[in-house]
């Protein structure tokens, strides 16, 4: 197979429509006569609703309906977008008498326009019995207040839950005898790290519109990463058959995992379901900040032991995760804090242990955010590695060189996979070279009150959920030989429509413009679990290759038939099928058009792909910062990232993914924090109070690729989307230490923490 489109920086197929502002997003295409839906939200972190008076509100002109907990189905479900049977507990109702966080839904109001709905909302009188909330996740276990006392709480695959003790899940995985080996080590580190909840803060907030079609089915147009899971979740919540629901995904204004949870779709869905009328919900930024699905806050204790030569012999991780009010994505994210950290250092260790526990609290429920638990774990583990190096008085890059996973290593802690493609050692070397580590480590005092220093971290992720995620692609040939490609993976700005077309173009020996990609429609698209877990390029890419192979055979057979020879005697070169014996040929145009006239040739293929492995992409991140020793102000001078994502399919898009992930990681490291008041109110309720980085905050970023070849991936590719958010927090913490000897173990690393650390030394 020739690589023409693959490894080329091709413009995204939708690029020009997006940059010229065409109306392609959910709110742009919603019917003008949609009912506007809004949710009245609880002002209390924990309360029982005693009464909801809606009479006055119903009299507001234009109000269509007001729903309370008494009006909704009583079947519990999860809004985590995961493959069935989900690991997340079924702990939600659409509305419930018990409200569990400030912002939890109390009533759903639908009316002809926004102002009438807001007016009605003000007229609803709710009586609450206010209850004590659980607001500190370190004290949630065995708290006298139980967040989920209900009898009908259930989980399909239990990972040690005990809801009466506020435990969502817990468990231990151990290889060898950790405590024994750790005790034998000459050098040990034992520190606890605290990562905060972060908002994905995609520019387009949560939104969806719904309508009934001519067949009496509920149609849902949603800004989602997981259309098929939306269908499943809505069917469960509405107690109807999945065949009654169709979900369509238009262009999406960013997701980063937020839209892997069915946050908003249920509200217009139930309104349309009950009234038969079209309805839409557009979350305000405030709602997207206070009632959404941020990153799980985690407290992670890391213990690492190394022998006198600096070889890591024992590693222990103990993670406590804050689920918030519901357990969406909780049992799954927590696992990654161990399985995506331990394998980097334990291929040659004698023992490791991973203990985890997640608890319910009365805060907004957490969800999926790029990195998905690995990010939290890597801040802790990479920081601990840097602290171990400091304790041993050696360069942290050298400690890593001695210990990191290398190609061919068996990774017991990574569900027993072997690192078949791994260029982490080359990534580290290249990152050191790019940042000029050897000359700059640890720091240089500039003599003007400022000090420049460098910091380092490495990371891994996965490329899908092995043996769970499923991708399929269908391609058919149309008039004059163009291809219609249907995918169930959702392009959310990442460019997967283009990337998958690039793969198909090379497999079919055609131009990428000859492939028309359609977005997701659950009635039409082949099944795909969705765009998450870094799976799209790796998994849907392989499905694309398999589909193209099958389609090529069909085209060859049709051409051979028309040429009067056997398929084995013919070959398809992308433009024509050639009879290899007599060199007669027939063009693809003729084959395509012939298939539409008196033909039995089904020139269409649809093939599925799942993977028993989830090959990790790897990277090294090195940062140079300048710190003001009096104010603690930190400027990023230079951030270099060297990434091993296997073969790079589209260098531009891979680069932009990396730069974007790094800046989100920088936001997490330095600025972003979901802050709650003493009563459980979320203070980080806007872009004024939750500051994501602006273009003045991020410094220079340089990205390089150190390719490996992943034998199970399309053209040797692995994933990239999530990996790239992981290094900034530990690398920046390391740079701060190298400049000031202050270890900041609680994110974000603010100038206040740096200065107070220096003053209190």
């Amino acid at each position: 197979m020739k690589m023409n489109a693959v490894n080329a920086s091709i413009r995204k197929k939708d690029a020009m429509a997006l940059v010229t502002g065409k109306p392609v997003y959910t709110d742009d295409i919603a019917p003008k006569d949609c009912l506007v839906v809004k949710v009245l939200r609880s002002p209390y972190a924990h309360a029982m609703i005693k009464e909801v008076k809606i009479d006055a509100a119903l009299k507001v002109p234009g109000i269509e309906c007001i729903l309370t907990y008494e009006d909704v189905p009583k079947t519990r479900f999860t809004i985590a977008g995961q493959t069935y049977p989900e690991l997340s507990p079924y702990d939600r109702l659409i509305l419930e008498q018990r409200v569990r966080f400030v912002g939890d839904g109390v009533a759903i109001i639908a009316g002809k326009d926004e102002s009438s709905v807001l007016k009605a909302m003000k007229l609803i009188k709710v009586s609450y019995e206010v209850l004590e909330p659980v607001l500190d996740f370190t004290k949630a276990k065995d708290h006298k207040v139980v967040v989920h006392p209900e009898e009908d709480w259930k989980v399909l695959i239990p990972l040690g839950p005990d809801k009466n003790r506020n435990i969502v899940c817990h468990g231990t995985e151990e290889q060898g005898n950790f405590e024994e080996e750790y005790a034998k080590c000459k050098y040990v580190i034992d520190e606890t790290y605290h990562t905060k909840a972060n908002q994905q803060a995609m520019m387009e907030t949560f939104r969806a519109y719904t309508y009934m079609d001519a067949y009496g089915r509920l149609n849902v147009v949603a800004s989602t990463q997981v259309p098929f899971h939306v269908r499943k979740t809505l069917a469960t919540a509405l107690e109807t058959k999945k065949s009654n629901i169709r979900v369509v995904k238009p262009r999406i204004g960013g997701g980063f995992g937020a839209k892997q949870t069915v946050v908003a779709e249920i509200y217009p869905a139930i309104v349309t379901w009950l009234t038969g009328k079209p309805a839409k919900i557009i979350y305000t930024r405030e709602e997207s900040q206070i009632a959404s699905s941020p990153r799980h806050e985690m407290q992670i204790r890391v213990r690492i032991g190394a022998d006198e030569k600096g070889k890591i012999q024992a590693m222990g991780i103990n993670t406590l995760s804050n689920a918030g009010a519901f357990g969406d994505h909780t049992p799954t994210t927590i696992g990654l804090s161990g399985t995506k950290t331990l394998p980097i250092y334990t291929s040659n260790a004698k023992a490791y242990k991973f203990e985890y526990e997640a608890v319910y609290t009365n805060q907004m429920a957490a969800g999926a955010y790029r990195g998905y638990g690995a990010t939290q774990g890597l801040f802790a583990v990479e920081s601990a590695i840097n602290e171990l190096a400091a304790k041993m008085n050696i360069d942290p890059t050298i400690l890593r060189e001695k210990n990191i996973v290398k190609e061919g290593d068996f990774m017991s802690a990574y569900h027993g996979e072997t690192a078949n493609s791994c260029a982490l050692d080359r990534c580290l070397e290249k990152a050191k070279e790019m940042i000029d580590w050897d000359n700059k480590y640890p720091c240089k005092d500039l003599g003007n009150g400022k000090v420049r220093s460098v910091g380092i971290a490495v990371a891994m992720q996965g490329s899908c959920i092995n043996d769970v995620d499923v991708a399929s692609v269908s391609i058919k040939i149309s008039d004059d030989g163009f291809y219609n490609m249907n995918i169930g993976a959702t392009d959310m700005g990442t460019g997967c429509d283009t990337i998958l077309a690039q793969i198909a173009a090379d497999c079919l020996d055609t131009d990428v413009n000859n492939i028309i990609v359609s977005g997701v429609d659950t009635d039409i698209s082949p099944y795909d679990s969705g765009s998450y877990a870094s799976s799209t390029t790796y998994l849907t890419g392989m499905a694309t290759i398999k589909t193209c192979e099958e389609l090529r055979e069909k085209i060859t057979a049709a051409g051979a038939d028309m040429l009067g020879c056997k398929p084995e005697e013919a070959e398809f070169d992308g433009n024509s099928v050639i009879n290899l014996t007599n060199h007669k040929s027939i063009s693809l145009i003729d084959i395509a058009n012939n298939s539409m006239c008196g033909s039995n040739h089904t020139l269409e293929a649809c093939v599925k792909h799942t993977s028993p492995v989830s090959p990790p992409p790897y990277m090294a991140g090195a940062v140079e910062v300048e710190i003001d020793k009096e104010t603690g102000h930190l400027d990023i001078i230079d951030y270099v990232a060297v990434v091993d994502c296997g073969t790079v399919i589209n260098p531009n898009l891979a680069r932009v993914q990396t730069e974007g992930g790094l800046v989100q990681g920088i936001g997490m490291a330095l600025y972003e924090d979901v802050v709650y008041g003493k009563d459980g109110t979320c203070y980080s309720n806007s872009f004024m109070q939750y500051k994501i980085p602006s273009r003045l905050d991020v410094g220079q970023i340089r990205v390089a690729f150190e390719s490996s070849y992943e034998p199970t991936g399309p053209f040797g590719a692995k994933s990239i989307g999530e990996l790239v958010i992981n290094t900034p927090s530990p690398a920046l913490a390391n740079a701060v230490y190298n400049a000031t000897r202050v270890n900041v173990r609680t994110l974000p690393i603010t100038s206040e923490k740096i200065i107070m650390g220096m003053l209190n030394k």
Binding site: A15, G21, P23, M203, E204, G493, V656, Q664, R695
Partner: protein
Amino acid sequence: MIMEISLWLNNVFIKDNIAPDTLLLDYVRSKGCYSVKRGCETSNCGLCTVILEGKPVLSCSTLAVRANGKHVITMEGLQEEAAEVGGFLADQGSEQCGFCSPGFIMNVISMSKELKDPTLEEVKGYLAGNLCRCTGYQSQLRAVLNYLNAKKEAK
């Protein structure tokens, strides 16, 4: 109270009756200018940037009545320029999800008219009010510099 206003929206003269608390953002969207997006309620993101009397403003923080007697330009009225700037973004892959692109490009167009030969720092400063969560800004900056260079060379 309903206010009568008249304005030029993308050079088309309109007379209209609106509620006084109508935000310019909601007004132009109601007129089909869907390129104008709402990203926040606190004037922080720049997604709703339109050009009012030649200056880039936040349409979420401007009452529609303030446009009375004035010229409002959205990307619908600047398609050629948008495609030109946007082409440079597309060549970097830096439109990504695209939701912030129209507001960003409107401000780039304003900048290129207001600042002569801006330095890198001036470019970043002028565009600081345009947030983007996908790109990390680097590719946008490459695109803008390429655009400014191309404009300079064309002269």
